[in-house]
Amino acid sequence: MIELIDIHKSFEGKQVLKGVSLALHDGETIVILGRSGCGKSVMLKIILRLLKQDQGTILIDSQDTTNYREEQMMPVRKRMGMLFQGAALFDSFNVGENVAYALREHTSFSEDRIRSKVAECLEFVELSGTEQLMPSELSGGMKKRVALARAMALDPVYMFYDEPTTGLDPLTSRKINQLIRKLQTERKVSSIVVTHEIANAFQVADRFVVIKDGEILLTGSASEIKGSQLKFVQDFIKGGVISDGRQ
């Protein structure tokens, strides 16, 4: 379980998060909804301590990581995977090397075992046989799927998705959503998905957190979100295409 308690963060005097508190329970998928630039991605980076909060407490599996140094965060990060908005594949490595990266860094697996684990991860994201391709040869959707394979190589307990479907066509978005769901159901991974795409959000979420102006406006299930009378929430829903169907 991950708990954020009263998190504040500002950049150059502009306050982005104003006392955000939220809990991710084991096995659930939370979707954080909000307009672009409202601090959603910052929350993910604060959990991973890629950014440091100005104020507030972070508990990861009851471990207070608030004041952890970089080296103390390393074992914590091994239990987490992050899918970055732009995939963030290492562009000097091919697909196989990208997926194998964490295995080579943190395990004593033989090369054969690494190869088979890489193949297994790529099969999970339906990209078998692409090991030798370079990131520059991949489409946007393929990059995201390779990044997902890379993030799951160490079998993380928690997964964080930063705008996983932004910029992708509907079919590819659907594929990514299916993979997020598959990771949750098959591997019991707890996830936080940050998005402003409402249609995709409904496909993966167990629970929604709506953020406005750096504060949590509403937390609830899909039906609670749809039934909300708050104008911001209604405008947000009307702005996208609602789909109830989970895949």
Partner: protein, 257 residues
């Protein structure tokens, strides 16, 4: 106006603090494993071997021109026999370390900043940290170690090539024999010259790669930011080469070296 000056001063002070804090963090990692030996080896190849051709070119023409100029001046006093010795001492003590370090800053320093800067703006550095790898250890320390080891090697090679370039002029234009030029070089160089010529690139190598990594990892603002970071690396490294050269030279003279 006062506010503007205060902002500039506090900006410069906080930048200096961040610069030294960054290097302190890197230095702390020098004494604790893991060390990424394979990556250091790869970097030594990229930084050292791949720079060889430009170093040879610059060193050869520096020695060539130096011998011409010194020979021209010396001939007026009938002292052209000293050309080999003067070329060798100038190259080994001063010109070799400084000029080759300038080339190194332009080629390797700029390259490191561009590479790390591009990784920074495309979130690859964050991805690396999210995958529980320390970029200061994996990217920065490896490059600093490789540069510190390889720049002295490049300077030694450059010195030799420069002396050869000078010999070409000595033999073809000044009427010296190759063996006379060689003995003039050997008789002129003493241990202190070699020590001075090696300690400088050792310091410059660490400094250039440290500056390059610092600006690379602090790149902001997309491709424009990468360009600005590269420019800053080359400018700051070049200025620091001359500044440190003056400091080291003075220190060595004080120590009698």
């Amino acid at each position: 106006m006062n506010k503007y000056i205060n902002n500039k001063i506090s900006g410069a002070l906080s930048e200096t603090y961040r610069f030294f804090a960054f290097h302190w963090e890197v230095l702390r990692r020098l004494f604790r494993p893991p060390y990424y030996g394979k990556t250091i080896w790869e970097q030594m190849d990229r930084i050292g071997v791949d720079s060889l051709s430009i170093v040879i070119l610059v060193a050869f023409f520096t020695g060539f021109v130096l011998a011409f100029q010194i020979g021209y001046a010396m001939m007026r006093f009938g002292a052209k026999i000293y050309v080999g010795g003067i070329v060798a001492v100038s190259l080994v003590r001063e010109l070799g370390p400084v000029l080759i370090s300038m080339v190194f800053a332009g080629r390797v320093g700029a390259g490191i900043t561009a590479e790390l800067g591009a990784m920074q703006v495309s979130e690859q550095i964050d991805a690396m940290r999210a995958l529980a790898t320390d970029p200061l250890r994996k990217l920065v320390l490896t490059r600093i170690v490789a540069s510190t080891l390889m720049l002295p090697v490049l300077v030694v090679i450059g010195d030799l090539i420069g002396i050869l370039g000078g010999m070409l002029v000595g033999v073809m234009n000044l009427g010296l024999t190759a063996s006379f030029y060689k003995s003039s070089v050997i008789n002129s160089l003493v241990f202190n010259d070699l020590f001075s010529g090696l300690i400088k690139p050792l310091v410059f190598g660490a400094m250039i790669s440290g500056v390059a990594c610092y600006y690379g990892l602090n790149t902001k603002g997309g491709t424009k930011g990468v360009g600005e970071a590269v420019t800053r690396t080359v400018v700051v490294s070049s200025v620091l080469i001359f500044l440190l050269d003056a400091v080291i030279t003075k220190l060595l003279f004080l120590l009698g070296i």
